[in-house]
């Protein structure tokens, strides 16, 4: 390896995940953390931990100079940004490099192009990848937004240019609702990403969300097949699968090849994901955005390909060429991930911070639980609600669904409300068993359930 001391500039389950890959590569792990995370699992597991500031992310996990100071003080040689926080911040990638350290991810220049949703659309069009009709780039002001929306027709989506994770997105049905949505999305984007820039896209109501995992080393790029993430609530993914049931082999090949073409056209280096909308009715797909980082749902891809994506990211960052050729990769079996969040599905998904009074992790064949939990852990209100990801694999989708039901029954988290009951319901639902869903399916299903309970 080109480095031996890795600093992890993130928290929660992904910090734990990165430490595991780092350990297997023989690296020393340095975990930076906020004052609220002193007792976190990631801090407890790390070789070294550094407190970089107060709970509010702007003062700690988004504080570039504090992170670089911690790197200098601990002799870190590389920084893994995880997902969220600074992972798609080009200025951070540049600053890491300028400090003489390795940024585990693409260059600042690539992040600027592909991480900016508006610029990525342009790059996709150039590489011959179809995109959803929308504004050609960022929207300067409300008047321009009105003009673009009128031209492409309502409903439209207002989206954060620097966005990801569903933050800073609003669906707008009419011109009257545009101003409020524009303000809210802009404020949310500014708070989440430090950049309030927005763009507009036509809202396609009935589509599947299908995304392609790519790996590149700056010279060559490969895909690791697709994930389907159609089950979403407020544009947050809830349940993810690999492969997608909707794709026939020919459609899969076309989709995945388009992703590789785009990755190669920007000499992509690292792990990345190209997100698409897939229209079942026409079999057409549209590129929506690229995430230039590891994604939350990466484990389903690891389960069906056998590749450790985080370890491969670290190897590539250390200067190694891709360990795989496209022809080496096989799609084997089926994997499903259920996101276990500290939210109460019986009470409008109200966030539920608090102390974990009892905890039992599921285990056994084909079962993996990537989590920040331990018994007695106090879940902080200052960060997102993801507690862990329950991932199952089996030779068939039906087998994976049975494993999901079995593993969900084993999982015990007491003291806070979690979304596990939602997943237990989903794993028994006929539409889910049939794979007959689209990106609005879950919200429709939830409101139908709510009405039924009220009547």
């Amino acid at each position: 390896m080109g480095f031996s001391r890795l600093l992890i500039a993130n928290r929660g389950e992904i910090a734990v995940r990165i430490q595991r890959a780092a350990r297997e590569l023989g690296l020393t792990t340095i975990q930076v953390h906020s004052a609220a995370d002193t007792d976190s699992l990631a801090v407890r597991m790390a070789d070294k931990a550094v407190n970089i500031g107060p709970p509010h992310a702007a003062k700690s996990y988004l504080n570039v100079s504090a992170i670089l100071d911690a790197a200098a003080a601990t002799g870190a040689e590389a920084i893994h940004p995880g997902y969220g926080f600074l992972s798609e911040n080009a200025a951070f990638a540049d600053a890491v490099e300028a400090a003489g350290l390795v940024f585990v991810g693409p260059t600042g220049a690539t992040i600027r192009t592909m991480g900016d949703k508006a610029a990525a659309r342009a790059a996709a069009e150039k590489a011959g990848v179809p995109v959803v009709p929308g504004s050609p780039g960022r929207i300067a002001d409300l008047a321009t937004a009105r003009a673009v929306a009128a031209e492409i027709g309502y409903p439209v989506m207002v989206k954060a240019s620097a966005g990801g994770g569903g933050r800073g997105i609003r669906v707008v049905d009419s011109a009257e609702a545009l101003e409020a949505a524009f303000d809210q999305a802009g404020a949310e984007a500014k708070a989440a990403f430090g950049d309030g820039g927005l763009y507009l896209e036509k809202f396609i109501a009935r589509a599947r969300h299908i995304e392609v995992q790519v790996l590149g080393d700056g010279r060559d790029a490969i895909h690791c097949f697709e994930r389907e993430c159609s089950l979403q609530r407020r544009r947050q993914k809830v349940w993810e699968e690999a492969p997608s049931l909707a794709l026939a082999p020919q459609a899969r090949a076309e989709l995945c090849e388009s992703a590789v073409a785009l990755a190669k056209s920007v000499n992509y280096c690292g792990a990345g994901t190209l997100e698409y909308l897939y229209d079942d009715a026409t079999g057409r797909f549209y590129f929506i955005e690229m995430n230039t980082r590891i994604q939350v749902e990466h484990p389903v891809t690891e389960m069906v390909t056998g590749i450790d994506l985080v370890r491969e990211m670290l190897r590539i960052a250390a200067g190694a060429p891709l360990a795989y050729k496209q022809s080496d990769l096989r799609l084997t079996g089926h994997a499903i991930e259920a996101r276990i969040n500290a939210e109460d599905p019986a009470n409008k998904f109200r966030p539920s911070p608090g102390t974990v009074t009892e905890y039992r992790a599921p285990g056994g064949p084909g079962t993996r639980f990537d989590t920040l939990l331990y018994q007695g852990y106090q879940i902080s209100p200052f960060y997102d609600s993801l507690l862990g990801k329950l991932i199952v694999w089996d030779e068939t989708r039906d087998g994976a669904l049975a494993r999901m039901r079995r593993a969900l029954a084993e999982l015990i988290v007491e003291g806070v409300a979690t979304t596990a009951p939602l997943h237990r319901d989903l794993a028994d639902d006929k539409a889910v068993l049939d794979g007959a869903f689209h990106t609005r399916w879950l919200e429709d299903w939830l409101s139908a359930k709510e009405k039924l309970a009220a009547s």
Binding site: D183, Q184, A342, R350, P353, P381, Y383, S385
Partner: protein
């Protein structure tokens, strides 16, 4: 004198967006169910609705300050 308490732990915001006016100022009248601020908890923004009516005497918690669940946000008379 009544108090409006924070329903959740998190960060208290008095405005819908940084460039917007506060939902309520000291001296304003508030009715039951009216929004007096937002609590940011786990990256979600939850509206705090008044469960007491009257004149706002004082904001006990400042804009963008951390709060605990059950901590008073506003005093109303």
């Amino acid at each position: 004198m009544a108090q409006i308490l924070s329903p959740l732990p998190g960060t208290f915001y008095r405005k819908a967006a940084p460039d917007k006016p506060p939902f309520k100022a000291e001296g304003d009248r508030v009715a039951i169910g009216e929004t007096i601020g937002l609590i940011e908890v786990m990256k979600s923004f939850i509206e705090v609705q008044a469960d007491a009516a009257g004149k706002i005497v004082k904001f006990v918690i400042d804009n963008e300050e951390p709060v605990m669940a059950g901590q008073p946000l506003v005093e109303v008379e």
